[in-house]
C-alpha cells in the first residue's frame, strides 16, 4: 500500500492530551497515576464520526440538520407553525476574502426560526454542553433524542475554526433579545461564555444560531440541498427558506396550515427496558412499595398486574423498590418479560399522515401518480411505532410532452429500439420522526424492505438485489418514541423484524395502488394506440391496394370507408375520453393522479380537516417550484382545470 493511501489521522493530537505510548516497565503506582477521567466532550472530539462529522461535506450537513431539527421541535412543542431560514455562506480563513463556493473550506451556517425562543439562563448549556437537553429523559416522539446534536455541531465548529457559537434569542415581543457567544470547555463539558449582551433584533420571537465550521459544499446526493428538499416533504406544515452558498434562494412554502397533533409523553413499556434500566428506575422511583412502582412508572401495568408480577417473581409487593437488588431484581425482570401485557399506547405517536405525505410529495416531486399509506401502530421491543410509505411515479405531463417533442424522429434501423434508455433506479427517501436520513442507505431497514418487495408484481421492472427501476420516488417514514438507529449519527434504522415487516406491508399497499394505476393507464393508452395504428395502417393498405389495382382506385372513398369501420370497432370514442374514464382515482385511496388535463385528488371522507389545501406561495420566488393549489372539496373529486404554472 502506498503511504499516500494511509488514512489521515483525525488530527486530535493537539486537541486531546491523551495518553502517550508508555515505555515498558512501569510500576502499578505509576500506572495508577495515569488513570484519569475522560470527559464526554473529549471522547466525542476523538470520535466525531459517531456524530456525523466524519468529513467536511457531511459535517456541513450535520450542522444544518441538528439546528433545523431543534428549531422544528421547539416550534411544534410551542404550538407554533415552524418557519425556518437556513443560510450558508462561504468564508475565507483568517479574514481572507471568501473563495469560490466549490473551493471554500469554511462556512458560516445560520439558522433562524420564529419559534418560542430560549430563556437566557439555559442558552449557554443548550449550545455548549453535550448531553444536555429536554428530550432524553422522556418517552415522547421528537426529532432530537439525546441532546448531543447542536452542541456537538458547535464543538466541531470550535475545533475546526476556533470560532464560538453565536446565538440570538428572544422569547416574545416584550422581551429583550439576548446575544451570546459561547464555547465548550472540552475537558469539563461546561459552557464558556465569551460574550453576552442584550441587543436590538428585528425578529419579535425566535432563535438564531450561527456556527462557523470547516466544511465542503457540493450539490447532489446527501447534500444540504437534498436535505432541505426532503425536510420540506416530511414537514409540509413548515416553511423553509434556504439560501445556498452560491447565492441561490429556494423557498419551500407551507402546504398544510396546522401543526401535527402534538405527541403525548408516555411511560416506558416494560418490554422495552433492559435490566440495567430497571435497576436504575428501582433506585430513582418516588413510589414507596414495589407494586406501586410497577403500576405507576410503567405503561400498561395495572395494580392488579403489578401484584401478579410480584407474586410470580416471589417478591413482596410491599417491599421498598430501593431494596430490590441483585438476584431478586433479575428474577423480577425476567418475570415482567414473561408476563402478558397490553401493547403500549400509541397516542404518543404523531405520524405525518397520508394527506400530508401526498401534499409533500406532490409539492416537491414531479410525477403522474402519488399515493401514501399509513400503517396502524405496531410495537418493537416495547416501543410503539408507525410506518408510513409514499410513492411518486412518472415524470409529470410536462416532462412527458417535452420528452415526446425531443425524441428523435429518425426512423429505426434494424436492431434499434426506442426503449432501453430508461434504466434509472427508483430513489428512496428515508425519514425517521420526520428527519431525512441521507447516509448509510444500504444498511437501513427501509432500504432492505424496498429491495425485498417484489415490484414486478406491480408492473415495475426490478433487477435482482436492486431497487425497482423507473421514474419513481419511494418515501418511507418511521415515527416512534425511540427510533432504533444503527449509530449515534442517526443515519440508518436498525433492522428489527417487526419494523421491516411493517415497512414491507406499507410498500406493498402503495405498490399495489401504483400497479392498478399503471394498468389502467396502459389500457387507456392501448385504446388510443389502436386508433392511431388503424389510421396509419389504413394509409398503407390503401396505398398497396391502389398499386395492386394498377392505379385504378378511388383512394379517398376506400380510405373513408375503412376509417368508418375502424371507428365502429373502437367504439367511436375519443382517446381523451377513454383516459378520463379509466384513469380516475376510484378505488385508489390517498392518491393523486396527474394527467395533462388536470389533477385528480380523492379526499378521504374521514379527514377532520381538509388538509390538502395548498396555499399559494407568499411571494413568487424566482427559482422555486410554485405550489399547486389543489382545491379539495370534501367528499368530492376536485379537478383543477389546466395544469398550474410551473417555474
Amino acid at each position: 500500500m502506498s503511504p499516500k493511501k494511509k488514512p489521515t489521522p483525525v488530527k486530535p493530537a493537539r486537541l486531546s492530551p491523551a495518553t502517550k505510548p508508555r515505555p515498558a516497565g512501569k510500576t502499578a503506582k505509576e500506572m495508577g497515576e495515569q488513570q484519569r477521567e475522560i470527559s464526554v466532550s473529549e471522547f466525542f472530539t476523538k470520535n466525531r464520526h459517531l456524530l456525523g462529522f466524519d468529513n467536511p461535506r457531511k459535517a456541513l450537513l450535520t450542522c444544518v440538520k441538528e439546528a433545523v431539527d431543534n428549531a422544528l421541535d421547539a416550534s411544534e412543542e410551542a404550538g407554533l407553525l415552524p418557519e425556518i431560514v437556513v443560510k450558508l455562506e462561504a468564508v475565507g480563513e483568517g479574514g481572507a476574502p471568501a473563495p469560490a463556493v466549490s473551493q471554500a473550506t469554511r462556512f458560516r451556517v445560520t439558522i433562524i426560526d420564529y419559534g418560542p425562543g430560549i430563556v437566557r439562563e439555559v442558552i449557554p448549556r443548550i449550545f455548549a454542553k453535550l448531553l444536555y437537553g429536554s428530550k432524553f429523559h422522556r418517552l415522547r416522539m421528537s426529532r432530537g433524542q439525546q441532546g448531543i446534536g447542536i452542541s456537538a455541531a458547535g464543538m466541531y465548529g470550535q475545533l475546526t475554526t476556533g470560532k464560538p457559537v453565536k446565538i440570538i434569542s428572544r422569547t416574545g415581543e416584550k422581551q429583550p433579545a439576548h446575544y451570546f457567544e459561547v464555547q465548550i470547555d472540552t475537558k469539563k463539558n461546561e459552557p464558556l461564555i465569551l460574550e453576552k449582551k442584550q441587543i436590538e433584533w428585528e425578529n419579535h420571537r425566535g432563535t438564531q444560531v450561527t456556527i462557523e465550521l470547516e466544511g465542503k459544499y457540493q450539490k447532489g446526493r446527501a447534500s444540504v440541498d437534498e436535505y432541505m428538499e426532503l425536510s420540506a416533504i416530511s414537514n409540509p406544515h413548515a416553511q423553509f427558506t434556504y439560501h445556498a452558498p452560491d447565492g441561490e434562494t429556494k423557498v419551500y412554502p407551507r402546504t398544510i396550515q396546522h401543526n401535527p397533533e402534538p405527541p403525548k409523553e408516555i411511560k416506558p413499556h416494560p418490554y422495552g427496558i433492559e435490566l440495567g434500566m430497571l435497576l436504575k428506575m428501582l433506585q430513582d422511583t418516588k413510589s414507596h412499595w414495589l407494586a406501586g412502582f410497577l403500576s405507576a412508572d410503567f405503561s400498561r401495568v395495572s395494580s392488579q398486574t403489578a401484584d401478579e408480577i410480584c407474586k410470580a417473581a416471589g417478591v413482596s409487593p410491599k417491599k421498598r423498590p430501593r431494596d430490590v437488588i441483585g438476584l431478586e431484581a433479575e428474577k423480577l425482570y425476567k418475570t415482567i418479560q414473561a408476563t402478558k401485557l397490553m401493547a403500549p399506547p400509541t397516542n404518543c405517536l404523531s405520524p405525518i399522515g397520508e394527506k400530508a405525505i401526498l401534499a409533500g410529495l406532490f409539492k416537491q416531486i414531479k410525477g403522474d401518480f402519488y399515493t401514501a399509506v399509513s400503517r396502524p401502530p405496531a410495537v418493537y421491543r416495547g416501543n410503539p411505532f408507525i410506518i408510513e410509505a409514499g410513492l411518486a411515479w412518472g415524470r409529470g405531463p410536462e416532462q412527458a410532452a417535452l420528452d415526446a417533442a425531443k425524441a428523435p424522429q429518425a426512423p429505426l434501423a434494424e436492431g434499434e429500439s426506442r426503449e432501453g434508455d430508461d434504466n434509472e433506479l427508483a430513489r428512496v427517501m428515508r425519514f425517521a420522526n420526520r428527519v431525512p436520513l441521507l447516509y448509510q442507505q444500504s444498511g437501513c431497514s427501509t432500504f432492505k424492505a424496498v429491495l425485498d418487495t417484489t415490484w414486478k408484481n406491480y408492473g415495475i421492472p426490478q433487477s435482482r438485489g436492486a431497487p425497482p427501476a423507473g421514474p419513481m420516488v419511494i418515501f418511507v417514514h418511521m415515527a416512534s418514541v425511540w427510533v432504533p438507529f444503527t449509530s449515534e449519527s442517526k443515519e440508518a434504522i436498525a433492522d428489527y423484524d417487526e419494523i421491516r415487516k411493517e415497512i414491507t406491508l406499507a410498500l406493498r399497499e402503495a405498490g399495489r395502488r401504483l400497479g392498478v394505476f399503471i394498468k389502467r393507464r396502459d389500457r387507456a393508452h392501448a385504446e388510443s394506440k389502436r386508433r392511431d395504428i388503424f389510421e396509419l395502417y389504413i394509409e398503407e393498405v390503401v396505398g398497396a391496394c391502389k398499386r395492386l389495382k394498377g392505379g385504378k382506385l378511388a383512394e379517398g372513398k376506400l380510405k373513408a370507408q375503412l376509417t368508418e369501420i375502424a371507428k365502429k370497432v373502437t367504439g367511436g370514442m375519443k382517446t381523451d375520453e377513454m383516459l378520463d374514464r379509466n384513469a380516475g382515482p376510484h378505488g385508489l385511496p390517498h392518491s393523486i393522479i396527474v394527467t395533462p388535463e388536470g389533477i385528480e385528488v380523492e379526499v378521504p371522507v374521514e379527514g377532520p380537516v381538509a388538509a390538502v389545501e395548498a396555499a399559494p406561495a407568499p411571494e413568487p420566488e424566482p427559482k422555486k417550484k410554485t405550489a399547486k393549489k389543489t382545491k379539495a372539496k370534501p367528499k368530492a373529486k376536485a379537478k383543477t382545470p389546466k395544469k398550474k404554472k410551473k417555474k
Binding site: A407, Q409, P411, L412, E414, G415, R418, A526, R530, D532, I533, F534, E535, L536, Y537, E539, E540, V541, G543, A544, C545, K546, R547, L548, K549, L553, L558, Q561, L562, E564, I565, A566, K568, V569
Partner: protein, 364 residues
C-alpha cells in the same frame, strides 16, 4: 429470366379486390390463411406424404392483434405483384427491404426485421395456393449436385459429370421452365445431409463407380434440392437414398425428403418422395460396422425430447422405425457420419455404402 404467371398476378390483385369490396359493405376485410402447424397437417398414408388440413385462420384488419400483419400482407402482395409485372426474381431479403419503410408521420416501421416478412410470404403461398417460384422469390443456392446428369440452365448446357469435385450449385428454382433435365444415365440418387461427406464421396468419385447422382443440401435440404431430387425421381425414375447422421435431426431430414415438412405441408405434393429410402446411419450400424462407443456422442435433453416427438409422428409409426428410434434412445448415443473416419478415411466410400447397397440394408 422469370416467367410470368398470369394466374398468380390475378390472385395477388384479388387481395386488393377483397379489401375494396369488404370496405364497400362496411365489413372488416379478412384473408383466410391455412394454419401451418402440426395441428393442421395430416399424414396421408395412401399417398405417403403429409397433407395440409383444412383449418384456416382469418386474418382480419381491424383487430389489434392482427392489424399489422394484415397491413404487412398487403404490402408484400403489392411487392410480389410488382415482381410479376417487371418479370424479375428476387430474394426474401430483398422483399423485406422493398417493403420496409416508416409509416406516415409516426416512428413505426412497416417491418422491423426480416423475421417478420418471411412468414408473410409463406402465408401468401399457402393462402393463395401459389408456389414461391411462381411468386418469383428464390432462396439462396444452398445445394450441390454431381453425377451423370446434364441440365440446361438458361440455355447453358451443364454436364454434372464434368465439374471436377466441386459440382453444380443447385439453383433455388428448378422448375422445368427454368431448368431442364437434358440427359440422365444415373441409376440412383444419393442425398447426403452433410457437405463434408458429400465432398468425401465426390473426391473419391463414388458416383462414377456406382453410377449415381450425389446431392447435398448442407443440413436441412432447401426447396431447390428437394424439388430437384423429386424431379429426378419422378421424371427419370431414379430411386432416392438418404444418408444422414444418426440423430433425431437426421431422421427428421429423411422424413422431410420422404413425406414433406409440417411448415410446407402444402408443397408436399410436389416435393415429397414417398419411396425414398433411409440408408444410414442407422442406430443399428454401430453394432453392424463395429463402431467403438468412444466415437458416439451422448444424447442431450433436446435430442431426447425431439426423438420422443418423432416417435409420436404418424409417419414414424412403422414398427421398424419405432425400433430404430427406440434403439437410439436406449443406447443414449448419437453418431455422426464423420465418425466412420475412425475406421478409415475412406470407410464410407469403400466399405460402408457398398455394403449397404449390396445388402439392401435400408429402412423405408
Amino acid at each position: 429470366m422469370a416467367k410470368r404467371h398470369p394466374a398468380v398476378e390475378k390472385k395477388l390483385v384479388g387481395l386488393a379486390d377483397l379489401v375494396i369490396s369488404a370496405a364497400a359493405r362496411r365489413k372488416d376485410p379478412s384473408i383466410s390463411i391455412p394454419v401451418r402447424s402440426l395441428s393442421n397437417v395430416k399424414f396421408n398414408e395412401k399417398k405417403g406424404y403429409i397433407e395440409m388440413g383444412s383449418n384456416k385462420q382469418l386474418r382480419t384488419f381491424f383487430n389489434v392483434g392482427m392489424a399489422k400483419k394484415f397491413m404487412q400482407t398487403m404490402l408484400v402482395a403489392d411487392a410480389l405483384n410488382e415482381l410479376q409485372k417487371a418479370d424479375l426474381t428476387t430474394s426474401l431479403r430483398e422483399i423485406y427491404y422493398r417493403t420496409k419503410h416508416t409509416m406516415g408521420d409516426s416512428n413505426e416501421n412497416t417491418f422491423d426485421d426480416q423475421a417478420e416478412s418471411d412468414p408473410v410470404i409463406e402465408d401468401l403461398e399457402v393462402g393463395l395456393a401459389a408456389l414461391r417460384e411462381e411468386f418469383h422469390v428464390r432462396a439462396e443456392n444452398a445445394g450441390t449436385i454431381i453425377g451423370p446428369v446434364v441440365f440446361i440452365d438458361d440455355g447453358d448446357r451443364v454436364d454434372c459429370s464434368k465439374l471436377g469435385k466441386g459440382g453444380y450449385s443447385v439453383p433455388s428454382i428448378v422448375e422445368e421452365e427454368y431448368l431442364q433435365i437434358k440427359k440422365c444415365t444415373a441409376d440412383f440418387v444419393l442425398l447426403i445431409e452433410k457437405g463434408t461427406q458429400w465432398n468425401r464421396l465426390a473426391e473419391d468419385k463414388f458416383w462414377r463407380k456406382y453410377n449415381c447422382i450425389l446431392l447435398t443440401g448442407n443440413g436441412q435440404p432447401p426447396r431447390g434440392v428437394r424439388r430437384l431430387a423429386r424431379r429426378l425421381h419422378e421424371e427419370k425414375k431414379l430411386p432416392v437414398y438418404v444418408l444422414v447422421d444418426n440423430d433425431p435431426w437426421g431422421y427428421y431430414i429423411y422424413s422431410v425428403v420422404k413425406q414433406g415438412s409440417i411448415n410446407l405441408a402444402f408443397e408436399s405434393q410436389r416435393m415429397a418422395i414417398p419411396s425414398a429410402k433411409f440408408i444410414g446411419l442407422s442406430s443399428a450400424d454401430p453394432e453392424h460396422y463395429d463402431l467403438p462407443r468412444t466415437v458416439g456422442i451422448k444424447l442431450n435433453d433436446k435430442d431426447i425430447s425431439r426423438a420422443k416427438e418423432l416417435l409420436a409422428y404418424p409417419w414414424f409409426q412403422k414398427k421398424e422405425w419405432q425400433a430404430e428410434i427406440k434403439r437410439m434412445l436406449s443406447s443414449g448415443l448419437k453418431f455422426e457420419l464423420d465418425a466412420l473416419a475412425n475406421k478409415d478415411f475412406q470407410y464410407l466410400t469403400k466399405t460402408y455404402l457398398p455394403k449397404k447397397l449390396k445388402e439392401k440394408d435400408w429402412l423405408d
